[in-house]
């Protein structure tokens, strides 16, 4: 019974998502909204002048969106800190009996 419900849910979701995918702008055209947005044009045209970095992706990651990358490094740092805390907590528990 449960698996029938799950399959029904998945089929409905798949039909909905595929309908959305068929309705999206054609892939690979330079004129899609994502590729033709003013932001994309600005980054491609001015990244070297603004940041001195020919690699536009690096320019976006480490200059235009550097604040975002700071959060990203913080996420990684927090994950490692949490994992180490789990490990240390277990060792303390063991040594205290």
């Amino acid at each position: 019974m449960k698996s029938v419900l799950i399959i029904l849910l998945l089929v409905c979701l798949a039909a909905l998502l595929v309908a959305v995918a068929l309705d999206m702008p054609p892939l690979g055209e330079p004129s899609t909204p994502a590729n033709a947005s003013p932001l994309t044009r600005y980054v491609i045209a001015n990244a070297v002048r603004d940041t001195g970095s020919p690699n536009r992706v690096a320019a976006v990651v480490a200059d235009y969106r550097a604040y975002d990358t700071l959060g990203e490094t913080t996420v990684l740092f927090t994950a490692v800190a949490a994992i180490l805390a789990l490990e240390r907590g277990r060792k303390d528990e063991k040594s205290n009996g």
Partner: protein, 140 residues
């Protein structure tokens, strides 16, 4: 854990992996790649070393304290570079306006803050991924 073939092959290819990782980190602003990709490649070298020669060998090569220092230092380096922008009267994490020299585009030492941030991120990610591996590997 005493495989001669694995040890010999690892000894031959680990230097190439590490040099390639450093290349990807340092050329992050010139070619595909960057701090994260290069850091993961560097960590891959460390993980291969640990798999071939055992955990104690990796612990002596990259001690826990050094890895922790690199992880915390990476975040501090990033924030410090951001604060340089504030101190010079510009925005947080500003590049050219904060006085970082942009250099000649295409040279290795160019790009101002992009190069410095990639360097910090690369070392931090290498230490982080090898720490993750070390902690998730079941100790015998």
């Amino acid at each position: 854990m005493d495989d001669l073939v694995l040890k010999v092959v690892a000894r031959v290819i680990i230097p190439f992996i590490q040099v390639y990782g450093l290349y990807v980190v340092l050329h992050g602003h010139l070619s595909p790649g960057g701090g994260f990709a290069g850091g993961v490649i560097l960590a891959g070298g460390f993980i291969l070393y640990a798999l071939a020669y055992g955990r104690p060998a990796l612990d002596s090569l990259l001690p826990d304290r050094l890895a922790a220092l690199l992880e915390s230092g990476g975040v501090l380096w990033y924030t410090g570079l951001g604060l340089v922008g504030l101190l010079t009267g510009s925005a947080f994490l500003a590049n050219a306006r904060a006085g970082f020299p942009l250099g000649v585009p295409g040279r290795l030492f160019s790009g101002g803050i992009v190069f410095l941030l990639n360097l910090g991120i690369g070392l931090k990610v290498a230490a982080t991924i090898s720490t993750l591996f070390r902690n998730l590997q079941e100790e015998e």
